[in-house]
Amino acid sequence: MQQYYLERTLQAVITVVSVMTLAFFLLRLMPGNPADAYRAELIQNNPQLSQADIDHRVEQKLNVLPDAPLHEQYINYVAGLLQGDLGESINEGVPVSEIISEALPWTIFTMSLALLLSFAIGISFGAIMAYKEGSYFDNGLSVLSIFCNSIPNYIVGILSIWFLGYQLELFPTGGRYSTEMEPTVGLLEPIQTLAFLGDALWHASLLILSYTVVAAGGWALRMRGNSIQVLGEEYLRVARLRGLSERRIATRYVGRNAVLPLYTALLIAIGFALGGSVILEQVFTYPGVGYYMIEGLEARDYPLMMGVFLVMTVAVVLGVYIADLTYGLIDPRAQTRGGDHR
């Protein structure tokens, strides 16, 4: 058992290091260096600026860039990382860690809500579908679930902005919270905090909706499959023979045994959710980490892109790692399998 934990930990570390290396060299190979991007930005924002002026400004900016050889940059970077330093954003002129730590809570806020919501909806409907297997209800919802799961979530996003945002003007189409709202989170000011959270939720609602609609379809189908499988198991017949109530069977046996396999999936999905925010946040101009990834890409802002990419990877590694370590605790049967549940 101890060796298992050790192995998992080692693997997590190796993964992070290799992804760091990969990302570092990939990003350095990108076409269009920051100077180019900066020039483009200047030209776009200041059509009146003379060429000499632009050249001069680009040159000044270039001085800031490290001209050191690649391997030196890499070593510096890793050394910095170990001290929690992700470098400085070329475009924004502030530490990347600052941008990410400012943006990350918003992505976590929306994505975890969306994920939990879709999970709750998914497993509820999935269980009901399994119980009513073969009925019109089951067939209808199955097709609906497949359909929802077929649409890319950013397309649901575009559609919801279109109808609920622009046409019906029911929801805001971007931003984190209202202009009038003072961001307040504190126990001492419960009313302001609630108002603020409510407002933030209202702004994120279309984004959450887009993710939830698609993901819930997937969870429902999986829950349905798991439940049908569990329902056919021998021990349920035994339980019924023992005279246990249907309700008790539903919650204790079917629910538990059908949901358990989804536990790992959920943890890993949480890890992947950060990465899944990339296109969606851009569609909603919601300044979370995914948004900054694309912004960084467009500005050829290497440190920013790299930082976001690393944070997203670490999230997955963490999700997988926790799933690995805790699965045995939750499902005793898994222990005997020595963690080979994957």
């Binding site: 076409p31 950013y154 575009i158 999986r222 990419f309 997955v316």
Partner: protein, 345 residues
């Protein structure tokens, strides 16, 4: 993930018996069986299963459009019709209307299909070949090779796919649809490789494989004869997953302008142009946005339906039920393996 957590129940005694029995059959009998197994039975299942039938029809439709559409329907050209007209407003001249440049929308949808299909097929094949190769190699060779390949697989599985694809797309700026397909599925093979490795490990412990080895059959022969049929469900599921990832990611990245495009039209580019052209603000432009959205959704829908239906054709236990007796039992739990949490990993 569910691909990982749910075990495949394809291997049962009956199948093992069948596999062994194969050896004793005449060549002609074997071909007949193969034909039955790979063509007739799937055909029966597709015909017998509503979802598979619908899915197959949708995919067939796209394939036909992709193959013949561009030859039959006019090319999208600037000012070929009046600007921004709504569907059917000029009879059947521009059945889906035109965009802000007066280009026929249906023509754009049709002429965008071939490159999309190329991308999908390229991505699917790439993932399948790489996944099968890495998986079987790791499973059969064991030892250090296995450990290195497994570690590599684990790492690739842990890299969040979409951000990686975004970076790669910006780095490589692929324009060729085949290359684009490969880039967009760069991380999908790992899941398949891992699954195949564990299948190989479990199958190779089975007596009939040992028997094959004892009979002096070479490793590739064993793979083809004994292993491949058993892992087909995974291959198919992965193929569909790869296809969906190609669709999701390519449309998204074209929409964001991360992928470069040339004169060839693309659904994602259409969405981008429609959105920036104000289709979300002006109802009379709605068709411009709806058309590509519908094309994407229908294709993805067809893929999932098809894979769910055909999931059974490779699963001997189910197939036996479906093709031999008019069975009353319902589909197995495996069907859900194609669905994902919410898009691209």
């Amino acid at each position: 993930m569910s691909e990982r957590t749910e075990s495949l129940r394809a291997i049962d005694d009956g199948d093992a018996f069948e596999a062994v029995a194969d050896k004793t059959m005449s060549r002609r009998e074997r071909y007949r069986r193969l034909f039955d197994r790979w063509v007739l039975a799937p055909g029966r299942i597709i015909r017998g299963d509503v979802r598979a039938r619908i899915g197959a029809s949708i995919l067939l439709l796209y394939a036909l459009v992709g193959l013949f559409g561009p030859r039959l329907y006019t090319e999208p050209e600037v000012n070929q019709g009046p600007r921004s007209i709504t569907p059917l407003s000029e009879g059947l001249t521009h059945p889906l209307g035109t965009d802000n440049l007066g280009r026929d929308i249906l023509a754009q949808i049709i002429h965008a299909t071939p490159s999309m299909l190329q991308m999908i097929v390229a991505g699917g094949l790439f993932v399948t070949v790489l996944g099968v190769t890495v998986g079987t190699t790791a499973g059969f060779s064991g030892g250090r090779t296995d450990r290195v390949l497994s570690l590599l697989t684990d790492i690739v599985m842990t890299i969040p796919g979409l951000p990686l694809i975004v970076i790669l797309a910006a780095l490589l700026e692929p324009q060729d649809p085949v290359v684009t397909g490969l880039v967009l599925t760069i991380n999908v093979w790992a899941g398949l490789a891992r699954e195949i490795r564990s299948q190989v490990l479990s199958i190779s412990r089975h007596s009939y494989v040992e028997a094959s080895q004892a009979m002096g059959l070479s490793t590739p022969t064993i793979i083809v004869k004994d292993i491949l049929p058993n892992i087909m469900p995974y291959v198919l599921i992965t193929f569909v997953n790869a296809a969906r990832q190609v669709i999701f990611a390519s449309i998204g990245l074209y929409f964001l302008g991360v992928l470069p495009y040339d004169s060839v039209v693309n659904w994602g580019v259409m969405i981008d142009q429609a959105v920036s052209g104000g289709a979300m603000h002006v109802m009379s432009l709605a068709h411009w946005l709806i058309a590509p959205l519908a094309a994407i959704t229908l294709l993805s829908f067809g893929l999932i339906l098809f894979s769910q239906g055909t999931d059974r054709m490779f699963n001997p236990r189910v197939r036996a039920r479906h093709s031999s007796t008019t069975d009353t039992a319902d589909e197995p739990a495996d069907e859900t393996t194609t669905t994902t949490g919410g898009g691209i990993r």
